[in-house]
């Protein structure tokens, strides 16, 4: 559905996106992940035909974003970082205008607007002037705007930014419910969002793609080692000495030293060292309160990828 081949974009001498290539299948939800100013918005703007690429080709639904930009525009719904709302218009009038310029046929327009207002739960505010709406509602009107012409591809730039936790959950649910019928690309710098909503993730840093894979296999690949949290009650130095002595253990760090508990983080390359830890602590007659295996989160993968990239660059 979306095919991007070695797209680069310069702003003067500054490179915003470098040789980005990726492919999105029909019906997929793909997350763009990256720190601020990584090039997520620029990539999305190229896909939506808002910005031309300096080099490379991008195709949406088989149409080149540059050569056939009008065909592409008909097939995409785009929610920029700031929802593009005419503040002085009423919600319904606004959606009607968007439907018109997106090319929804006059006979279908009314139904399309009612449908999309139902989907995004803004039918209660249809006659309100947009500037009087809360941030959450504005965001939903923004999503409704992207959906009104029932596009094949939805491109959402940070759809949950600035919302409260409840609204974030609602928006995520809404996005998930749209999968299947639409191909969705969403960008975010919030990691859990990607693992919750997306099947696949593209990690961008400093304008280049540093990794792209399904969320599961990414975490597997970049596990890099296993971590365990150990909670006991003993002097830190003593515990560390004993634990470091275990052959498979690479590193022991203190997490918290209290007068009752000492919490340590134990790292090992590829072994589950929990039995050894337990044995060592028991043999030394320390009380053992807890041993917990920490799963590797996308957060670790992300940090791993973005910081190692930084090390390589400098």
């Amino acid at each position: 559905m979306i095919d991007v081949q070695q797209v680069s974009r310069y702003f003067g001498d500054v490179i915003a996106v470098r040789d980005v290539s990726f492919h999105v299948e029909k019906g997929e939800i793909v997350g763009f992940l990256g720190p601020n100013a990584a090039g997520k918005t620029t990539t999305m703007r190229i896909l939506t035909t808002y910005l031309p690429a300096t080099s490379g080709t991008a195709k949406v639904a088989g149409f080149d974003v540059h050569e056939n930009s009008m065909q592409v525009r008909r097939r995409i719904g785009y929610l920029p970082e700031n929802p593009p709302l005419y503040q002085e218009m009423r919600v319904r009038d606004y959606l009607d205008f968007v439907a018109k310029i997106k090319g929804v046929a006059p006979v279908d327009r009314k139904k399309a607007i009612v449908d999309v207002m139902g989907k995004t739960a803004i039918d209660k505010v249809e006659n309100r002037v947009i500037k009087t709406l809360s941030k959450g509602f504005k965001q939903r009107v923004g999503i409704a705007q992207a959906l009104v012409h029932n596009p094949d591809v939805l491109i959402l730039d940070e759809p949950t930014v600035g919302l409260d936790p409840n609204q974030i959950i609602e928006v995520r649910e809404l996005i998930k419910s749209l999968a299947g019928n639409h191909t969705i690309i969403l960008s975010t710098h919030i990691l859990p969002e990607v693992s919750m909503t997306c099947q696949r993730v593209v990690i961008i840093n400093k304008g280049s793609i540093v990794a792209q894979d399904s969320t599961d296999s990414l975490t597997k690949k970049h596990a890099g080692g296993r971590r365990f949290t150990v909670c006991t009650d003993a002097p830190f130095e003593a515990v560390r000495e004993k634990l470091t002595a275990i052959p498979a253990v690479d590193r022991v760090e203190i997490n918290r030293e209290g007068h009752e508990y000492t919490t340590l983080v134990v790292e090992s390359k590829d072994h589950d060292v929990r039995p050894e830890i337990a044995r060592t602590i028991i043999e030394n007659h320390w009380p053992l309160y807890e041993i917990k295996s920490e799963g590797v989160s996308l957060e670790d993968v992300f940090l791993d990828l973005t910081t190692s990239e930084e090390g390589a660059a400098s």
């Binding site: 525009r73 920029p80 929802p83 593009p84 002085e88 218009m89 205008f97 968007v98 310029i101 705007q145």
Partner: protein
Amino acid sequence: MRNFTAIYQREIKSYFSSPIAYVVIGLFLALSGLFFYLIVSNFVQMCMRYDMQAQYYQMAPPKLNVNMMAIRPILHNMSLFALFFLPLVTMRLYSDEKRSGTIELLMTSPVTNLQAILGKFMAAAALFLVMLAGTFLFIIFLFFYGKPEVGPILTGYLGLFLLGLSYISFGVFFSTLTDNQIIAAVSTFVFILFFWAIGWVSGFVSQSLGELFSHFSLIEHFDDFAKGVLDTKHLIYYLSFIFMGLFLSFVSIESARWRGR
């Protein structure tokens, strides 16, 4: 065509759902009305004075031309008021879209830049037409008390309309350059004022240069319209001025896209 209409209608609605349209139309009519009153009462006084002189010398009273002595100055005044008001009408057309980010919606919808520019241009033109239609009521009054010629009035209004469209086309252009409405309005005003005044320097420079300057002057071309002369030379001047403004708007939007602003 549908895209053009959608954008045109949205702009019209936006003018009339905010105070802009009412304030601009209201103040333009008030100002024009005041000057209409002053000019006409001055004209009436003059007529009376001539009448009395004629009676004193026992001669037939001279016929004073209401077209020349009243309507033409009124049209000239209105062309100046339009210069004050129209930049305020056009300043938000693109600046506001840029500031609020709605430009991203516009530029990612299947609407060509030409459709968008024309839609916005025509909306401002329609507002100007309403302003002019209001002043037309004043002129109708004159028909109750005198016998003005219709021809010069119509050509005068045509000239005024074309002059206004020239202001508007460059207003659109300056609005594409910035996301700040004040800057858009001020640059439009100064630019138009420059093309107004360029004819005035013709007296101070060599004859050929002066002629060239007065050919460029917006207001010199208006003069013939106000007199009732319909000359293709002036029509072509205004049409190319309007075209130039719209063309520059188009170029400005396209180049902003490439530069990524």
